[in-house]
Amino acid sequence: MADSWDGPIAHVLRASTAGFSAGARVQQIGAPTFGAFVCAQPRGGDRETVYGLLYDIHIDDDPLVRQLVLADAVSEETIRDQRHHRIVPLEMSVLAIGYRDYHGVLRHMLPPRPPLSLDPVYVCTQDEVLELTSGFDFFRMVLGTAQVPGEQLLAAALLHASQIRPPGERETFLVEAGRHAARLLSSDLNRLDYLLNLIAPTPQRA
């Protein structure tokens, strides 16, 4: 399924049509990254696959972790005990940017229904990312959602999508994406400038 992480990276905790939160064990933090394209797969195939961008990774503490943080010198065995055995959940938040319907058609719009609790969440394959970024309709959903860091999230996703393209196509892809963003943010030049700086091949200094 995914490039380097074959199994699910998490399972859905709670969801709405706008997005979902997923939980995982803390040792699974190697798989997800900010701005990654992920999907919640329905169990049984009777619902849509929901695609989204990972915009937050959150690790909860507990009283014992707080004690360990204050300790003088925590041994490797103790740290590995915490990460392997204790239920320290990693919570990730995903903004929905599209879904695939029963007929296999990918649509850049909010899904008709949210994924359900415990649906597995995977990192999208390269093919899925290429398909998702073949058009830029999802930009509006990212930039128009107040609770996500829109420019940062879109930039991270675009840089990731450019890296899986052949070297000769990467700059063209980013330039096209920048043009599309410019149309959406024509009335907010500060945001546009920030976004373009973030996706520039060599970041520009203001």
């Binding site: 003088d72 065995e77 590995r80 005990d81 055995h85």
Partner: protein, 406 residues
């Protein structure tokens, strides 16, 4: 109704005042105890101290204080260098007590064990073993009465020692020192006379200790913030004229009454140091020794687990005599315990914290278990209903919910 705090205000003030007065008294008692301790601190007094204890025991004067083994009573001992490798096991237990008003009459004992391979860099092993007791033979005492909370607690104590012995036995080939830790005194005072099957449970408990002896594990029972007065009892005995030692004078600690050992060792022990080794002269310890041999007699020492520059934090560590006889092993145990206490900010061994966490049955989990049992009962056509009393209590015990308007 909720607790009416305003009716407690005056009582709380009185409590504060009482505790302050008791602290003032304790300072005077501590000074006196210190003087006695210093007077007998030299090694040359050890034979005399042992003679005074032997005399009190011979008189059957009800002496319950400490007896030094062979170390001067005011000596302190630093830990050994931390062993590069060791295998540390820690076990704890918890229970769901039988509830005669619940839908089903049962109880559950859960033991949690952690096996930490010190120095390996590997994650430890964790083992949880829950056992459900629901058959008549488990729920009826020999007199056919229903099982009591005290009996379940005693069975849990035995289950903890048995689980620790079992897991230690399985790892007897692992790197040494092999440390087996319990979050309790090793002398199981919980298996008291009110427990009808006391003898049988004590035999199982002693058998588990024997199994640990076969592995030559460093068995230790850890008591945080001990309230014991064994050494104070010894100092009281030493303050008496030999002819005045009798049941009346030993019924209390006399002018030292109320003083705890930890007050003494608070000033004596530097971080990481242990006290001299003592044996507690209780009837239970005597019984252990007579039933299972000298190896099973329980000794103890105090340990200051604080970091340098911090206020002392004291623990009492109980060890069987086969460990007490090996001073190098004690120094290594001391070093490993001290290291464990510094894995967390609270100066309590990390492995015991985790064993407790593994064993703990949270109230939510107990409720879930009840639901699962009720479902299973219904599946088999067994009526599962809580008593009227339980239903009534549940109705008033719940937090009120509010209907919110959005």
């Amino acid at each position: 109704m909720t607790l009416e705090f305003h009716k407690l205000t005056q009582q709380i003030e009185q409590m504060g005042s009482y505790l302050a007065a008791r602290e003032d008294e304790a300072a005077d008692k501590l000074e006196l105890a210190w003087q006695i301790m210093e007077a007998y601190s030299s090694e040359e007094f050890l034979p005399l101290i042992l003679e005074r204890v032997a005399d009190a025991l011979a008189k059957d004067a009800g002496y319950r204080g400490a007896r030094p083994i062979d170390e001067p009573i005011m000596n302190t001992y630093p830990p050994a260098q931390l062993p590069p490798s060791a295998t540390i096991l820690a076990t704890d237990g918890s229970q769901i007590a039988p509830n005669p008003h619940g839908a089903a009459f049962y109880y559950l004992i859960n033991t949690g064990t952690i096996v930490l391979h010190h120095g390996s860099g590997e994650p430890p092993e964790v083992i949880c073993e829950p056992f459900l007791y629901y058959e008549d033979e488990h729920l009826r005492l020999p007199d056919r009465g229903p099982i009591t909370g005290a009996t379940v607690a005693a069975r849990r104590t035995v289950a903890e020692m048995s689980a620790l012995a079992e897991q230690t036995w399985l790892r007897r080939g692992e790197p040494r020192p092999l440390v087996a830790l319990l979050d309790n005194p090793l002398l199981p005072f919980g298996i008291g006379k009110e427990v009808p099957e006391r003898d049988e449970l004590q035999n199982i408990y002693l058998s588990a200790i024997s199994r640990l002896l076969e592995t030559r594990a460093l068995l230790a029972g850890y008591t945080d913030r001990p309230r014991s007065r064994y050494v104070v009892g010894l100092l009281h005995l030493l303050s008496l004229e030999p002819e005045n030692v009798n049941r009346t004078t030993l019924a209390t600690d006399g002018r030292l009454e109320g003083l705890e050992d930890k007050a003494l060792f608070h000033y004596l022990l530097r971080p990481g140091e242990r006290s001299a080794l003592f044996v507690q002269m209780s009837p239970l310890n005597k019984e252990f020794k007579s039933r299972a041999g000298e190896t099973h007699e329980i000794a103890f020492f105090y340990l200051n687990t604080a970091a340098p520059g911090q206020a002392p934090t004291l623990a009492r560590v109980e060890i069987p005599m086969w460990v007490a006889e090996d001073r190098r092993a004690i120094a290594e145990l001391q070093a490993l315990l001290y290291h464990q206490c510094h894995q967390v900010a609270s100066r309590y061994p990390y492995v015991l914290t985790r064993a407790h966490e593994l064993a703990l049955i949270k109230s939510d989990e107990a409720r879930q278990l009840n639901v699962i049992i009720e479902v299973a009962m219904a599946r088999y056509g067994v009526a599962a209903e809580e008593s009227e009393k339980q239903l009534g209590k549940a109705a008033v015990g719940r937090r009120r919910t509010r209907f919110e308007v959005h």
